[in-house]
């Protein structure tokens, strides 16, 4: 009897082991047959949606491929972008990454085309870049995609150099455009159409030197509360002048090193006019406005600050050079208030060797103070924008590249590296973005930011402001002669495109 039991036990054991092994083998094969393709799991509904959206593009490219005897269409998209600061190189890199992504999408959807992105990231001055760009666009040798400040929209649209993007944005709305912070669209809307895709934005704060304020006798509490005082309307532009004047009188800074601003023409010049309550553009006619009462207040402020009165703004400031004089002086801690931009700290840290800790120790930042107690602070943003030129042979492909580059991860890489602010809502919860202390601390400024008006003659107006203020600071103008000069310059250069309100 036990011998039979032994045999039965042995047989059962063998049978169990064999069936286990067979089961493993069968299971493996079932698993291998039903495994998803390596790395990609896309719900079919999304895949179908994607197919539908790119249907027209697919047909167009399939036709082209057929004409070429079935070879995939090789699409080369040229893109020109600019910093000029090298920290903004992601403006170009993100496009290249987007082109690679687009190639993957084309493969997945079965579009017979490959996309290659060529082009350059420019580090020359804005004037040199714009000259090169405009002449190339006019001569037909321009790039397909290019980046420039949103303010160029008027020129570009008037000259017919760019394609309006309303239809594409509507078509690909769900890809990323629903996520764009809505105020940014105003910066690229001209004559009822949207002409570009915002690439980034920034704010222009006033930086104050905390170490110098301490030397002046301010407590840490007072120093750290300064941006809040500005927000509450308790610290005005004239308060700032008084602090700077005191610093000069007590020898904390050298005469003329109290308040510094840019030494050349640029977007910042209308900020004080806006701070004093001025209006720049008439919404109904689109014409530019010069409210001479407000300009008087602005010029009085500059005259008070000049070396002729409180000795707070250096008369030689407008002859200085950005890289030779301005940034080194700020980094060396010689300037009390600096009217700068959010992209300056990365430059100071990366190019001028200011340590990150030293930056936080030495410099704080606030909005431009209001003109009167209880008023609202102000700043200016000049969003950068991607445009598609009219000579682009594949505008939809170019648009898709821009769309894929307008991605919360890629854009956050750029924002953190270069000190620019978010353009997408989802960036505000992206870990790369939120971990950056500086961006988190300056994010609130975008709410108070205004844009320059979009008008073909805005450059002439802005330059006139700069030239007159230059004259005030070098002692050539009094407030009255400055007002006369501005009025004459505007009348001469803008003609009836400007409304001068006395």
């Amino acid at each position: 009897m036990s011998k039979q039991k032994n045999v039965f036990q042995k047989t059962t054991a063998v049978f169990l082991i064999v069936s286990l092994l067979v089961g493993l083998v069968i299971g493996y094969f079932i698993g291998a047959a039903t495994a998803p393709a390596p790395g990609e799991v896309v719900p079919k509904s999304q895949y179908d949606e994607l197919q539908k959206q790119v249907e027209s593009l697919k047909q167009q490219l399939q036709q082209l491929s057929a004409q070429q005897a079935g070879k995939p269409v090789e699409i080369v998209i040229t893109a020109w972008t600019i910093g000029p600061e090298k920290e903004s190189v992601y403006r170009q890199t993100n496009l290249a990454i987007a082109a690679a992504k687009l190639n993957q999408i084309f493969k997945a959807v079965g579009i017979p085309a490959t996309v290659r992105l060529e082009g350059e990231f420019n580090t020359a001055s804005w004037t040199d870049y714009r000259k090169k760009l405009y002449l190339a666009l006019e001569g037909g040798t321009g790039p397909d995609i290019f980046l420039t400040a949103h303010i160029d929209t008027a020129f570009l649209a008037e000259n017919g150099w760019i394609v309006p993007l309303d239809d594409y944005i509507k078509k690909y709305w769900n890809w990323t455009y629903y996520d764009v912070i809505s105020g940014l669209w105003d910066s690229v809307k001209y004559k009822g159409k949207i002409w570009g895709v915002p690439q980034d934005t920034e704010a222009r704060p006033i930086y104050y030197n905390k170490l110098l304020l301490k030397k002046l006798g301010w407590t840490d509490e007072q120093i750290n509360d300064l941006p809040n005082k500005v927000l509450r309307g308790e610290f005005t532009l004239y308060d700032m002048l008084s602090v700077a004047e005191e610093a000069v009188k007590k020898g904390v800074v050298e005469p003329g090193y109290g308040v510094w601003h840019r030494p050349n023409a640029g977007p910042d010049w209308p900020i004080l006019y806006l701070a004093f309550g001025g209006q720049l553009q008439d919404p109904s006619t689109g014409k530019l406005i010069a409210d001479m009462k407000v300009w008087r207040k602005v010029f009085e402020w500059f005259y008070e600050a000049s070396m002729a009165r409180r000795k707070v703004i250096l008369d030689k400031l407008t002859s200085l050079d950005w890289n030779r004089d301005i940034h080194p002086s700020i980094v060396a801690g010689k300037v009390l208030f600096w009217m700068g931009g959010t992209w300056h700290p990365p430059q100071w840290i990366s190019t001028w060797g200011l340590g990150k800790d030293k930056f936080w120790e030495m410099l704080g930042f606030m909005l431009y103070p209001p003109s009167e107690k209880g008023g609202k602070p102000v700043t200016l943003s000049q969003p950068m924008t991607y445009f598609i030129s009219k000579t682009c042979k594949y505008p939809e492909v170019a648009f898709l590249i821009i769309t894929l580059a307008t991605d919360p991860y890629l854009n956050s890489l750029h924002a953190v590296n270069s000190g620019h602010l978010a353009i997408l809502h989802s960036q505000l919860s992206n870990t790369i973005y939120t971990q950056d202390k500086f961006l988190a601390a300056t994010g609130y400024m975008v709410e108070y930011a205004k844009y320059q008006p979009l008008h073909p003659k805005w450059g002439d107006y802005s330059t006139a402001i700069f030239e007159v203020i230059k004259g005030i600071e070098t002692g050539q103008f009094t407030v009255d002669t400055a007002l006369t000069a501005l009025r004459d310059l505007l009348k001469s250069r803008l003609g009836d495109e400007v409304i001068i309100r006395e």
Binding site: T127, R130, Y134, K316, T318, S319, G459, A485, D488
Partner: protein, 303 residues
């Protein structure tokens, strides 16, 4: 077939002049004509030939910066011309009164600024004369315990005269010194024998004998200075301040190529250039008459 000598002579002259005439037409006359035409249009960033007759000239008359620009041009041209001519003369006289080798070396050394790339020369001069404490002169002055001087900020015209003068005076020095060297030495020896001092020799013999060269140089340099803006652009860029050193041709350059928003105001810029063209032509005629330059060109009656 007998070709008369007259005709063959004319033919040879024509053939010899043709290349020069072609170059002058292509690179001088045609651009001048185009510039005048552009000044009658609103050519700018829109790249459209919008004819506007004399509107640009009317705008020039009402432009508040015109007065300053013209003033700057007059100061610049007369000042630099004076510096170039007088200092070149000094250099020529000095370098011909010393030993030959030393004289040649002097003139060669003075050629160095002209030979340097203009950007380098401009950077050097702005560093030397910088109004900040970091400039060469100011750091020397501060180390000696004195107050720094705002060189390019307050004394911008002398600064520009020096920057451009060092370039221009080397040419005049060479022209004048070769002229002085070609004076027959008999005159000088005779004067010395008669007991004339150096100053008298210079005033009574040398200067009158090189007057053609001086006249030529003045005429040439005036026209050349009317169109020169390179060093002003590189050093002061029309500043410091509101249009203090913005000469007419620099204004034209800024309007066409240097605007912040690149409006490329070619039409308006061409207006300034056309006026300079006319001024240049008028001055040439004036110089031709006043200096009697015709006499420079006619064949001498005695050889």
């Amino acid at each position: 077939m007998q070709v008369s000598r007259e005709l063959s002579k004319m033919l040879i002259i024509t053939v010899m002049l043709t290349p020069a005439v072609l170059v002058a037409l292509l690179f001088l006359a045609v651009p001048a004509a185009l510039t005048i035409l552009i000044s009658l249009t609103e050519l700018d960033y829109r790249f459209k030939w919008i004819w506007c007759s004399l509107n640009n000239y009317a705008r020039l008359l009402t432009d508040p910066t015109t007065r300053l620009v013209v003033q700057a041009t007059i100061i610049y041209v007369t000042g630099t011309l004076a510096f170039n001519t007088l200092w070149g003369l000094c250099l020529a006289l000095l370098s011909t009164h010393v030993h030959d080798a030393l004289g040649t070396f002097m003139r060669a050394a003075w050629l160095l600024p002209r030979v340097l790339p203009s950007v380098l020369w401009a950077m050097l001069m702005t560093w030397i004369f910088s109004p900040l404490d970091t400039g060469l002169l100011n750091s020397l002055i501060i180390s000696m315990g004195w107050q720094p001087v705002p060189w390019t900020f307050r004394y911008y015209w002398p600064f520009l005269f020096i920057v451009n003068g060092f370039i221009g005076s080397s040419l005049s020095a060479i022209v004048f010194s070769s002229a002085i060297k070609s004076i027959p030495p008999d005159y000088i020896i005779a004067a010395k024998v008669d007991g004339a001092s150096s100053f008298v020799i210079i005033r009574q013999i040398i200067l009158p004998m090189i007057k053609w060269h001086i006249a030529f140089f003045v005429a040439y340099n005036t026209l050349s200075l009317l169109a020169s803006f390179e060093y002003i652009l590189l050093t002061l860029n029309g500043g410091p301040g509101y249009y203090t050193t913005e000469v007419m041709v620099l204004r034209a350059y800024h309007l066409a190529f240097g605007q912040y928003m690149v409006a490329m105001d070619f039409g308006y810029a061409a207006t300034y250039v056309t006026i300079l063209l006319v001024v240049g032509l008028v001055l040439s005629i004036v110089y031709w008459r006043v200096f009697r330059l015709r006499r420079l060109m006619i064949e001498p009656k005695l050889e």
